[in-house]
Symmetry: D2
Subunit: 358 residues, 4 copies
């Protein structure tokens, strides 16, 4: 068993790590750390709001029993030498300073944005750009680290990059317009979105989100050269909105392809890609990497987000676009806290372990 620590274990993403690592066949979560405010408390106590006592636990799954009594450490009290791998669910500012401290000694898989845009740092989606893993070696050399930082993309990028990949491989992609309808859990819980702000409402803005998706999509779909990743030159334009949905980001996508396509072929390519995806045998991998619905009323977040425990990207409404000469449009759904975050990070860890990098 690999020994694991999670930094930032009480927040939304941290909770998902705790669930994803429960009874994991390869990984054992043996220590969790969080902010000074929570340190020294048992995990279950740290999750309560001080005033109301309400438990800040939003998973459908209960808190795993192994965690309830685990005492939260201060981050500075975590000894990297004791672990084979660190998962971090820190905010970007904290990640900026804390992650390198750990990466000096031990591999760090991160859901934070802090290092995503550096030249020797890949943004990894298991099954999509596994070849970018090589850049981790360069990173280690560059920085003289024993470990490395391997960040996941922003949760809104994940489903988009996954669905673009088979289209790009077969037909080439010229440009992409995407409007996201993002779930509340993507905003975390500290305090995240307050109920009075979103009930019967849409908020048409999520700070920095659009820029992240635009840059990350190009990097993930980019090519590896000797020393870095050359971003793909597809053009991407996004508008990101918050809607009153608990989990699951829905995205409306318009894609201009380089070659002529018909919607049936896109479905076929997505399913073929799904069937042959590299990560199929890993413990956390879903039975279906991509599902494509013919039913035009799907995907719907409430119905489709938990399919294969949130690890499947669900696609529907694939049809010919009416603006582009060569183009299609479709709708996708991706679980922002599972495949798009902590559970996707666990999948990445499994991939890295299979490749003997961890």
């Amino acid at each position: 068993m690999q020994r694991i620590a999670v930094l930032g274990a009480t927040g939304a993403v941290g909770q998902e790590f705790v669930v994803s690592l429960n009874k994991h066949p390869w990984f054992e979560l043996t220590q969790v750390a969080s902010s000074a405010r929570s340190a020294g408390k048992k995990y279950i106590y740290a999750l309560r709001y001080p005033a109301s006592g309400i438990l800040k636990w939003h998973k459908p799954e209960p808190i795993p029993e192994y965690m309830q009594d685990m005492v939260i450490s201060k981050i500075e009290d975590i000894d990297p030498e004791k672990f084979d791998l660190i998962f971090t669910a820190l905010n970007s500012d904290d990640a900026q300073t804390i992650e390198p401290d750990f990466a000096r000694s031990v591999p760090v898989i991160s859901t934070a944005a802090a290092f995503r845009y550096e030249n020797d740092v890949p943004i990894l989606i298991p099954g999509i750009n596994d070849e970018h893993i090589e850049i981790l070696d360069i990173q280690k050399k560059n920085r003289n680290w024993n470990g490395f930082i391997a960040p996941l993309p922003n949760c809104t990028t994940t489903g988009l990059a996954i669905t673009l990949k088979p289209i790009m491989d077969k037909y080439g992609v010229e440009s992409v317009f995407m409007t996201s309808l993002q779930a509340l859990s993507g905003a975390g819980r500290s305090p995240g979105v307050i109920a009075l702000d979103i009930m019967d409402n849409v908020i048409p803005y999520i700070p920095k989100e659009e820029e992240k998706v635009q840059i990350e999509t190009k990097k993930i779909l980019g090519e590896l050269n000797q020393t870095s990743i050359v971003p793909n030159n597809i053009k991407v334009s996004c508008t990101c909105m918050r809607v009153p949905v608990s989990d699951g980001h829905t995205e409306s996508v318009f894609v201009e392809t380089k070659e002529s396509v018909d919607p049936h072929m896109i479905k076929k390519e997505m399913l073929k890609f799904s069937k042959n995806v590299s990560i199929k045998e890993l413990p956390t991998a879903p039975k279906d990497y991509i599902i494509v619905h013919d039913d035009p009323t799907r995907p719907q977040p409430r119905i489709d987000r938990e399919i294969n425990d949130g690890m499947t990207t669900v696609v529907g409404r694939i049809r010919k676009d009416t603006v582009f000469e060569n183009g299609i449009k479709y709708v996708l759904l991706s679980h922002n806290e599972k495949m798009g975050s902590a559970k996707g990070a666990v999948l990445l860890a499994e991939l890295l372990k299979r490749k003997d990098i961890i």
Copy 2:
């Protein structure tokens, strides 16, 4: 005072007509008609669900007092000769057969789609394509009618066409991608969207909606020739979704312009257009035809939909597009039951009356 009848007065749009005509300075609603099931009942009784007794009245305004005791007629008992104008809020199938019966004798302003796509029928948005009113004369001659049918666009088209108009006039529009986040009231109440289908959910499909918006936008922005309207050759592609919002359609719009633009100029053009719009002095016209927010978190349906009693198109997030060489993107909000439906129809009636066409 013009004597008015409303056909289909108990449904969602019919209710909005009843509110919009309350204490109107020019129009007096003297008779309402509805389906056989409601005919013969007092208006307030016809609005109750048979089983639960719950009142199907969803406006923030109470039922106007003049309406509570008005007895609903059968449509076939309405004598067109007694009216100066008929508003219809029928479904499209009923409108197909009923509206011509009335148009033979009297002007009909309709929120139904039945006649929108016929050559001698304009789709009118007051202030946007007033010159298309001329086609009503051709319609009367063609069909040998004393009246005419003047339909409004689909509620999702309204805000899009209104915001494209000033951009088109100044910079030309090449193509448009639009994703809508549509309110529940747009689906009516018979039964409309049931709560279990939409709570904590998004439904990514509204039957026929996308085609309507794509065709209507081109026709509204088209040019009048001698005998018909030549659709504008802008290209439009839409994806229409239902979200858990009671009123107010939010739309994410990406626009390719013919000429180079900068976002500040778009705002300026929209406000100039708003200031000079033709319909400013009409009783139902809003103080602001278009409002443009600099605050990136606006427009929001719950906060912005009732501005100027739902007659203002609210725009925000105007910024340079990252795909188009010449292009911008923005978010708009339009009240689907007010400017986008019954109240917009009353505004159209006012415009036609000022032009002595009613």
Copy 3:
């Protein structure tokens, strides 16, 4: 394997039967019947709204594979002789005429109210009033039937009666005040509650609900004499409300006991009752019949309703009442579609089979 038919299989409760009988060790669902409108269609097609094509399936579980292609029969085409047991999920009016036709030949377990209030008909909650099962023999003799009708209580009664039972057994119950916050699924889906009626709202009335709970609670907790059930003489007063929650009825209960109680003892009695409940070994029985939380913020419907797959009654906030000299108050949560309806009916069938009555 017992051969089973479900009447009314497409509605909310019918869907729950379909899920509850999936892979059941004793029961095999071999035929389903529904209204004339659905008959002749495959199950999955009958579940779609005609206009929008949206699937009326609201369970978190997918439609079981064995059901998707099953063709729905007309009720009159069901031959009772072919079945060991009929489950009905009909509305009360249909049940009134249809259930006796089947009960002549075969046992009928019903979620409808039609026969609940007849003298020789018990209202059964497995584990609470198993001794009332004897009355089924009297019913068969009275009516000269080979089968019988065994109805479940109204879904709002279930959790109340379950929690009152251990209190009554130990301390006696004098009177009960109960206010329910009922879930949308309790209103079914034809059309059930429409979203515009309940979003950001409470509806303080559910027709006939309060009377049902008041009468049924007394009957369930009543005593069997030779020929009928003598209702318990506890006094019950209810106010039933609808809230924007998908599943799970929450109830605020104030109980006057005959003897002095303290809240800790109530918890102890409930847990003791739960531990010794008669139905523990049945396939559909939950691991815990009753759970009692000390955390004052529980039970919450979203967090607690799926515990033990919706078969557990979850109690919290047990505390001394401030009006009654002898009394307590508490909050309970019961899954209205699982323990309170179809899945509770399957549990009842299991109990009857173990007693060789089916």
Copy 4:
């Protein structure tokens, strides 16, 4: 014009003060104070979330123009001598130390709980216990203050006390069971209830709320003797819950009366009380103090909360109770931020001014 300051002006209640005092005929809001974090900022800037920039303004009314540019002061920089009246919307801990500092010089009307339970402090609801105003004189003498502290009750108490008053006056009240379904705005916005906690959910606990309602109801309905208020000896038991409703507390009430009642008489007494209530002519008083619906589906928060701008207590479902020998049950709705909070405080100020106490 009286010169007014509001302490705690940026929170939920503070915002309501700002709206309620807009264009007030007697009161002019000339200075606002808030926490150190907001002090020195313009009001509109202080309302933004630091990270997202979203405006924390939840009223349907826009921010009044007079306020947008007003700069927020530190509380310690407010000179009491410059004001005729101070409204405070502080949390209870701050109120404990700050309110006396001001009351030394100037009348303070407070929505905080800090002083409600002291002997020489009345809990005032205009129109219900105006005679308790006399105790303010005793308070001034006791404490050697030029001003006084006059608190409003908890927002959940208000509607309950208002509806009990006419029942008590005519029939006497023995005991009361109340279950509340409370709106989100009652929890404020710092951060209040987060969306993920309450969507599709009920939280059956609000810390300290039940005790407040139980104690305050008795004090408000109590009698004045020479030096203090003797609480009424009615017995009250409450369970307070949070539901996903933005504004408006719904309460299910069971009342045991001393004398025999019939529900029609209760309605009559409530309306008679409403018609003759003392505060009818005040600027902020509603046209109807109490409205009683015969329609069993009312009151509903979304439909009824804004009646008379939130100052009316709306009652429905009055019917005979089935437990009490003499008793009724009913449902009430009270706007927690208007009559139940800031706007009720303005009404109280008007009453005190009419009595020349301010």
